[in-house]
Symmetry: C2
Subunit: 395 residues, 2 copies
């Protein structure tokens, strides 16, 4: 199966007919279809598929326990709600295609190679991004993971069990991790760095610090028509003030801050809300400044009797400069770029795994949207780059 053939096979999985975007969330029927697709592609290539305790899939060429640690390439297959086709799947499809290209030219690796599929990278269902790699490395506590709930109150443990994965065994998986000598994740760029530089691929230097916080704003439900303005305790007003303050604070702190998810209770046209929950996504170049910004916003929330609770935080991640420089040279002097997006590569790097990233040009920079795009020629260039990287690192 060629790159284009694999791409075509995935195109319809979890696609929303109305938005044209993808809804591929962890431990759903769509997720099961993606896992089956992955196992099928591995099988077709004679790779050994292992699912680790956290539910990530690994397709090994060679025996990492006998001849490892190995070189791992791959990414994730899940999406944000109404996400694009490239964020995640491009890395997995390119990994299989790079292996094919290497085998076609008779490459014999000096160490085992795996294609990895990390589960629940976007955290769209249970709220924690990179849940699969975080559980694997112990960055996310197994009990906390099991107890996370989706919008319908279903816990991750129940969702996993329904999907046929044993949630009782979740936890740091040293046996799996020690097989990973080096990890390289190819990913569509989520900005316009390459487009501005007029280059098809880049090497990642690191990931800016980023986190997610939950904002809870209490109010008093009451009739929208009969309650005097002076008698109201309307948390929607507090949300509005918070949203505008977050934007202003981001400008001040050279950061980005986003309220992209809101839940209103009871969400009736003629009812003053009893409670508003919103989520803040905040990132920047400087950890201290992002932290200071969120502290300011938490203080603002307090003036409305609100609370801001950290759901996840990832320090600045620098990929080892040695590998990045080597790959940039290998790839005809490819640019070396940092990103504001979190990745499983960042989680593995923080756990001490030598890690690198390869980015593929995104002409508009748009991501987490049905409009996300990469030109086919650039995708093929990404596959060639990844094959060169594997050849270099596994020779």
């Amino acid at each position: 199966m060629t790159f284009d053939g694999m791409w075509e096979a995935l195109a319809s999985v979890g696609r929303d007919g109305r938005s044209g975007g993808y809804r591929r969330h962890a431990w759903t029927a769509q997720d099961a279809a993606l896992r089956e697709w992955f196992a099928g592609e591995a099988d077709r290539r004679g790779l050994d598929v292992v699912t680790d305790r956290a539910g990530n899939q690994w397709a090994w060429w060679g025996d990492p326990d006998a001849d490892g640690p190995g070189l791992v390439i791959g990414s994730h297959l899940d999406s944000v709600p109404d996400g694009g086709a490239f964020d995640g799947p491009l890395g997995v499809v390119s990994a299989f295609a790079a292996l094919d290209a290497l085998r076609d030219r008779g490459f014999r690796p000096a160490r085992p190679i795996a294609v990895a599929h990390f589960g629940d990278e976007e955290g769209a269902r249970f709220g924690i991004a990179c849940a699969g790699s975080r559980i694997l490395t112990g960055a996310l506590d197994a009990d906390r993971a099991r107890g996370l709930t989706d919008a319908d109150g279903v816990t991750m443990a129940v969702a996993m069990t329904r999907a046929g994965h044993d949630a009782a065994h979740l936890g740091p998986d040293a046996e799996t991790l020690k097989r990973v000598g080096t990890f390289v994740e190819l990913h569509v760029e989520q900005g316009r760095g390459l487009a501005d530089l007029d280059r098809p691929v880049a090497v990642g230097s690191g990931i800016r610090p980023h986190g997610r916080w939950r904002l809870d704003l209490p109010g008093e439900a009451n009739h929208a028509g009969t309650t005097l303005l002076a008698d109201r305790d309307d948390p929607m007003l507090a949300l509005a003030a918070f949203v505008l303050a977050a934007r202003e604070a981001a400008e001040e702190h050279d950061a980005v801050a986003t309220c992209g998810k809101v839940r209103v209770e009871p969400n009736g046209v003629n009812a003053i809300p009893s409670h508003v929950t919103a989520w803040l996504d905040a990132r920047g170049d400087d950890e201290e400044r992002v932290r200071a910004m969120v502290a300011d916003l938490a203080a603002l929330a307090e003036t409305y009797r609100g609370t801001v609770t950290e759901e996840s935080w990832t320090d600045i991640t620098a990929f080892p400069a040695g590998i990045a420089t080597r790959l940039a040279t290998l790839l005809d002097g490819a640019p070396v770029l940092a990103t504001g997006a979190g990745h499983d590569a960042g989680i593995l790097a923080s756990a001490g795994v030598p890690t690198a990233m390869v980015f593929v040009r995104n002409p508009t920079g748009v991501s987490h949207s049905p409009a996300e795009h990469a030109e086919t020629d650039d995708c093929h260039a990404g596959v060639r780059a990844l094959a060169a990287v594997v050849e270099d690192l596994a020779r």
Copy 2:
């Protein structure tokens, strides 16, 4: 079945275990249970139950076609999301209890009397309040009603059909309306007028003008971590500005304005929204000032490429002063109060039906909330008042 017994029987229908509030929405299983309860109470009293073309239920004592038009008492049984127990059901239960009290003392009416149950008063599912009475009088076009959709995209026509009601026959129902000589709706007060006056019941003078508008704010979905602030088209910022402006405008125009319902797409923590939809509920004493306020807010929305669409509008409704004065005198000089809440009584009054309302004290004024309350003694006082009204108007 006594008032207290009927109240008890309804207490568990559609009650949400978590909030303690009610979720009784049109053409759902809960709605079907309420309709069955209504038919059972009517049957128990030997009343003839007729369902009109709009799906409202009428339980007649006597033959309105031979001896009418009759006197109708009643209200609705549905709720807003997480609504209280009293808003609606108090009027229906009190109507049955008032009939019982009159029969117990051997009252023989000079004209037919009905207990009415109006469907879909809150509009919680399809967005149009008083849908049952509006369809009945022609204030809501049948084709428009059939095409209204709920949050899952189910049309009212489909929901009705699934519930066993023929949606093809929706439309103004002159045959039903001409049976209604007078309509009296008893309702829990949704403010503190009676509590402040230290009185158990009041008579309604009228309903302040009120309406609902849908606010659509377009944006561009993009990655929350990688999209520069300057590159963002984030409709959440527009919503925040609108919410704060609505509050300010309400203060300026002696009105109330509420954004109680919000829908964010795709509603992902790490995605800048592609679209935000919100609803504005606005009411006041003065039609022109409410209209002017909404026009100002629509102009603000336009600066964000947003649109404001009217979903419903009800002019000021004055109940006939003659009946109100007569009932106030009858009820020991009960106060005569206006309300900011819409009611089926208002729709019928606008259609030319001689109409009155009786309000029962609400100690906190809280409504559209699980905390909505009326003391049992006051509910019983409401039943006595309604019985006196029926005796007076049907003697």
